[in-house]
């Protein structure tokens, strides 16, 4: 929970502010989540779950409490009721909290961070509704199932952005064998991403790299003498003719996407680029399908 380090006096006030910001995000995400059908993660074998799988004759090792007396009462044999194994997936979400994500190229477009949070929250709601365990890629935020987790996620996602230009994903706490979904613009240093993917591969994590970009970052619609500054203000770059740099920039952006795609492919992940000017539902739909196709059998 973010306010842990805050002074005690500001705790209540900031909690109010957080809950104030919480509802719209949750509602918007609910709205989106309703449009996607949560998949059943039935494993088609007996195991822990709610769905009926089969009756089998009770063995010696079966506890008496597991005997299904209604089925057993029809005959002489004693049956045990088995349910289908429904292993819930553990999904770790990571949304870049860096200042760069606060960028929006135009007034009518949401900031990248806003869109990323919305997508993450919506995805989390869909997953939670499907019984999955969802958490943040953060040591304090292990994946859990349930409605309460949605509230906690919403709280955590609406936390203030950091002052850093880009945050680094930390998958050390993600449960091995689960999924990780990283939202960022991936325009910063690619090294931490690479490191994170390497770690993920070692921990048998599958996942998605979701690059959220503003259209102006793709099109570079600038011209004339321009002094570019990073969102946090640490970096600046001045050019006399910004228009001249357009193709060079676009080349570099394409190279960065190629790099990310290659990284993802090598780690068995998937990579996509979503834009803030396209509807969020499109992004959610891609995420949903990417997750369901990438499901383990």
């Amino acid at each position: 929970m973010p306010p842990v380090t805050r002074p005690a006096i500001g705790l209540r006030a900031s909690a109010e502010a957080l809950t104030g910001g919480l509802s719209p995000l949750l509602v918007a995400a609910e709205h989106l989540a309703n449009s996607a059908l949560p998949g059943a993660h039935g494993r088609r074998r007996a195991g822990a779950g709610a769905e009926f799988w089969q009756f089998r004759p009770a063995g010696a090792s079966d506890a008496l409490t597991r005997v299904d007396w209604r089925r057993s009462g029809r005959g002489d044999e004693i049956f045990v009721r088995e349910t289908e194994w429904q292993a819930a997936r553990a999904v770790s979400l990571w949304v870049d909290q860096g200042a760069a994500m606060g960028y929006s190229g135009a007034r009518e477009r949401p900031a990248k961070a806003e869109r990323a949070r919305l997508l993450a929250m919506a995805l989390a709601l869909v997953l939670l509704r499907g019984g999955e365990r969802v958490g943040l890629a953060h040591p304090d935020f292990l994946p859990r199932a349930g409605r309460v987790q949605a509230e906690r996620l919403a709280l955590a996602l609406s936390a203030d952005p950091g002052t850093q230009e880009h945050a680094n994903p930390d998958l050390i706490a993600s449960p091995p064998g689960g999924h990780a979904i990283l939202f960022s613009d991936f325009l910063g240093n690619p090294e931490p991403i690479e490191a994170a993917l390497r770690l993920a591969a070692s921990r048998n994590l599958r996942g998605l790299l979701v690059q959220v970009l503003d259209p102006s970052e793709e099109g570079f619609p600038f011209d004339g003498r321009t002094r570019f500054e990073s969102m946090s203000g640490h970096l600046s770059f001045e050019t006399l003719r910004a228009g001249d740099l357009r193709s060079a920039y676009q080349d570099r952006l394409a190279a960065r996407k190629d790099l990310l795609g290659a990284l993802a492919r090598h780690a068995g992940w998937q990579f996509t680029t979503l834009h803030t000017d396209s509807p969020a539902a499109v992004g959610l739909s891609w995420l949903y399908h990417a997750l369901s196709t990438g499901r383990r059998r």
Partner: protein
């Protein structure tokens, strides 16, 4: 001065700075525009990139052009550019500007001033002294030759005068320097004495005459002929081409604002110098006209003032009040109508109020004594403010006279509306029953209004009313009979006068109304006007005050400080033998009883064009004026700099933000300093108008007021229960202070001590009665009255009603509509019964409708009902709705109370629905018609 084509530069040296422009061009190109700051997350991808040609990003070419343009405009502006520079020939002689300054030059006065300004500007450049002489201005002994700046400052203050320059050689000519260059701003007319002045000036140097092309047009006095107003126009012969003009008749509209009342056009045929404009106007409109003016032209010559000769006076005749239809030829007003109708507008009404509302000039009372006090006062006020009250004697006036003389000694006539006190009875001379012959008129004395009128032989006076002898009788008498008894007396009062003819206005007492002399006498009294200007002989010995003077531009100004003018001088000016000049200004002159307009131009005004002698340079148009362009260029430079600022903002992407800031500042709401507050509504008025509210007039006696209130409450309750009238709670009113118009009905209990309303209260009450209100007067003493005939309360009521506008009354006739508006009633009891109730008398010609038990009385609600039955006591209920006072005995009393309530209901129905029930007479006929 450096001249390039049509443009010259006063300080060409500054143009050298233009050389610096290419340098500036290079400098501006070298400095790129300020960078745009942008936040951009993708900066990491940009680091290390390089533009292809870092030098080529420069100030856009159009911005460069803008800046260079701004600087060029600035340099050019500083160099003092002048459009159409005047290449003046160097001359060192002093400049003399001679201006005619007459009425004829007013039309294009600004051009003359501009020409003079040009000449003075030239003289200033060359350092020549200058002087300006206005020929119509006050005479000066010596012209001050000064620097041209001095005259340039004074130039706008010069204005033309409404007369021609004096014919004599101005005094200053003798003191002119030896060499003088003259600019003569002529008005285009050959005024008298011009040749001499020209010769004197030509001897001293070159004369340039400035004379704008175009005709001089002069308007002369309007004539009224055969129903139309004719305005003769004249023009000079400068330009014989046909021309057409529009003329406007200007006067005050009924709201008192001056505006154009009518338009007419006039056109000059080719070569013609005279034409007429004709206005066909209604008398009402014609009386309003104060002047005629040529539309679009200025100057005293284009204005023609109107005076009394064009006005038709409004004469009000107080009609006969009783509906007695006498023979037309015996009617007192017949001869007056005949005499006045051709030359005046007649208004006739039996109501003095109506007549005074029409604001007549003259009000005629023919044998009409016994006006009420209020009417007398209204008439006196009207006379004081300038009205002429013309009275004629008659048998009734003679009967109203008195032989007592106490008041006559004080100099105050008994009847303030008579010029003198009359003796009772009058006298008859030369009748069948009298000795002696009928009298003739004595010749009119000098100094009376009738002086100079010829006496016809056949006017004889058979009867007259006689004046009480008194010290002021001789002064007031303005016409006498041959035996010295006054025939016409007059008393001046305030601004108005009262005139009494001691004979009747018809031929009963004299043959005067049959003679032409009667018309002439009326004319002399300004009762009617003949429509001609006064003749010189008539003006002799009179004094005239200039009321409004006409200036050179044709505007009227009040002239309160002018000395009075002798009639002879005015007469001479009117026939044109004396020229109009500074002592004899054109304008409106007011005499004792008449107004005379003296126009700047008349049919004798000379309109010949000037013929300039050889050697005079004549300019007809204005040369294209020098126009300094520096201001324009400075403005251009400033605009360019502002555009540059905007462009720079736009280039930096900050334009939108700056615009938003400016817009935000501009849209800042400004709270109005003094918000207007609606006047609060009187809660009483709201209460009184939310429902029908019965009201009673307070008497000052608490018990009477209480009973009246309770009575109206009882009546209101009865109305509420029995009819669709649903009155609110009754209210009490004081006619002195409260607005009465809110109440349809007033109950007025009269007691011995009731206060008599003040004048203001009477005004309110009369307005109330006249606008449809009804008052029920109740003396509450029927019991006593039946025994004694009159009572103190009845006397009080008489005193109160004296000032009220109450029509003739009669006891309620059995067919009065009051008997059937709701209930069928035979009598109108209150607490007492069987006393007479009075209402407005029915007109004498009311006829019984066929087959109906009542007469056909269709119009009007009686404004008053007067009785003494103490109705309020019978109606009165207490708070629980039970009768407050006992009435009569037992069931009979209750029956009387019921009848009394029925009377109340009928009364209110009569007030509210008028004679609706009376109109029901026609229902059978209507039904019959519908059936077919």
């Amino acid at each position: 001065m450096l001249t390039l084509g049509a443009i010259g530069f006063t300080t060409p040296a500054i143009l050298a700075a233009l050389i610096a422009l290419p340098v500036l061009w290079w400098l501006l190109r070298a400095v790129p525009p300020a960078p745009v700051r942008r936040r951009f997350p993708g900066i990491a991808l940009l680091l290390g990139l390089h533009e292809r040609d870092p030098e080529s990003q420069r100030t856009p070419w159009w911005l460069l052009v803008l800046r260079i343009g701004a600087l060029t405009a600035l340099i050019l502006a500083l160099a003092g550019p002048v459009l159409n520079p005047r290449q003046s020939e160097p001359g060192s002689a002093p400049l003399l500007i001679v201006m005619d300054g007459s009425w004829a030059s007013a039309t294009d006065w600004p051009r003359r001033i501009e020409r003079a300004g040009q000449a003075l500007a030239e003289a200033r450049r060359e350092g020549r002294p200058a002087a300006v002489a206005l020929l119509t201005g006050p005479p000066v002994a010596e012209l001050p030759f000064r620097g041209a700046e001095y005259w340039l400052e004074r130039l706008p203050a010069l204005s033309p005068q409404p007369y021609a320059p004096p014919p004599g050689l101005p005094e200053w000519v003798d003191h002119l320097p030896e060499r003088v260059t003259t600019l003569w701003l002529s008005d285009g007319l050959a005024h008298e004495g011009r040749a001499a002045l020209h010769a004197a000036l030509a001897a001293r140097g070159q004369i340039t005459a400035f004379e704008p092309a175009g005709n001089v047009i002069a308007l002369t006095a309007a004539r009224f002929e055969g129903g139309t107003v004719t305005l003769p126009l004249r023009r000079s012969t400068h330009d014989p081409a046909p021309a057409s003009l529009t003329l406007a008749a200007i006067g005050r509209d009924p709201a008192g604002n001056e505006r154009e009342l009518a338009l007419a056009s006039a056109s000059f045929a080719a070569g013609a110098t005279d034409t007429d404009a004709e206005f066909a106007l209604q008398p009402e409109l014609r009386n309003r006209i104060t002047r005629f003016q040529i539309v679009g032209l200025r100057g005293a010559g284009t204005v023609s003032l109107t005076d009394d000769s064009l006005r038709r006076r409004k004469v009000a005749l107080l009609g006969v009040r009783e509906g007695t239809e006498a023979l037309a030829l015996l009617a007192p007003l017949h001869y007056l109508r005949q005499a006045l109708a051709p030359s005046s507008d007649l208004i006739e009404s039996p109501s003095i109020d109506d007549l005074l509302l029409a604001a007549p000039d003259v009000l005629v009372l023919a044998d009409m004594p016994g006006l009420t006090e209020a009417e007398t006062q209204a008439l006196l006020d009207w006379v004081e403010s300038g009205g002429l009250l013309l009275r004629f004697a008659g048998p009734r006036l003679a009967a109203a006279g008195s032989n007592e003389v106490p008041e006559a000694l004080a100099g105050q006539p008994r009847d303030p509306l008579l010029p003198i006190n009359l003796r009772a009875g009058g006298r008859t001379v030369g009748g069948a029953m009298s000795w002696g012959e009928s009298r003739r008129l004595a010749p009119f004395r000098d100094g009376t209004p009738f002086a100079g009128l010829r006496l016809p032989d056949d006017v004889e006076i058979r009867a007259q009313v006689l004046a009480q002898p008194g010290p002021d009788l001789a002064d007031r008498s303005i016409a006498e009979l041959s035996d010295g008894t006054p025939l016409v007396t007059r008393r001046m009062m305030g601004e108005g006068q009262i005139v009494l003819f001691h004979v009747t206005a018809n031929a009963e007492w004299s043959t005067l109304p049959l003679s032409g002399l009667f018309v002439d006498m009326l004319e002399r009294l300004s009762v009617s006007t003949r429509g001609s200007a006064p003749e010189t002989a008539e003006l002799a010995g009179t004094n005239w005050q200039l009321e409004a003077r006409l200036d050179g531009f044709g505007q009227l100004h009040p002239a309160p400080d002018r000395p009075a003018l002798a009639g002879e001088a005015l007469g001479a000016a009117l026939i044109g033998s004396t020229p109009i000049g500074p002592e004899l200004l054109p304008g409106l002159y007011t005499g004792s009883a008449q107004r005379v307009a003296l126009n700047a131009t008349d049919s004798r005004t000379r309109l010949e064009p000037v013929s300039w002698p050889q050697g005079t340079v004549v300019e007809t148009g204005l040369a294209r004026p020098e126009q300094p362009l520096a201001g324009l260029l400075f403005a251009l430079a400033a605009l360019a700099v502002m555009a540059d600022a905007l462009a720079t903002l736009a280039l930096g992407g900050r334009l939108v933000r700056a615009a938003a800031l400016v817009a935000g500042l501009a849209l800042m709401p400004v709270t109005p300093a003094n918000a207007q507050e609606a006047p609060p509504l009187d809660p009483r008025a709201i209460e009184a108008t939310e429902a029908v509210v019965l009201a009673f007039v307070t008497t000052g006696d608490a018990r009477v007021d209480e009973v009246a209130q309770a009575g109206l409450r009882g009546l209101s309750d009865a109305l509420f229960l029995r009819s669709s009238v649903e009155p609110g709670a009754p209210m009490q009113v004081d006619p002195e202070t409260d607005e009465l118009a809110l109440f349809p009905f007033l109950y007025w209990p009269v007691i011995e001590t009731s206060a008599i309303p003040s004048a203001e209260g009477y005004a309110r009450l009369n307005r109330y009665l006249r606008s449809g209100g009804m008052i029920l007067f109740d003396t509450r003493d029927a019991e006593v009255a039946r025994l004694s005939g009159t009572t103190p309360a009845a006397r009080r009521l008489q005193a109160i009603a004296a000032g009220l506008d109450i029509p003739p009354l009669e006891p309620v006739p059995s067919d009065h509509v009051l008997t059937r508006t709701f209930y069928l009633l035979a009598d109108f009891p209150g607490r007492y019964a069987n006393s007479t109730v009075w209402v407005e008398a029915a007109p004498a010609d009311a006829q019984r409708a066929e087959g109906m038990p009542f007469r056909n009385l269709n119009d009007g609600v009686t404004p008053v009902v007067i009785g003494g039955n103490d109705w309020a006591a019978a109606w009165a209920v207490d708070d629980s709705g039970m009768p407050l006072l006992p009435i009569g005995r037992g069931m009979t009393g209750e029956r009387q109370r019921e009848m009394s309530l029925r009377f109340g209901v009928n009364l209110i129905m009569h007030v509210l629905s008028g004679n609706y029930k009376s109109d029901q007479v026609h229902v059978p006929a209507l039904l019959e018609r519908l059936g077919q």
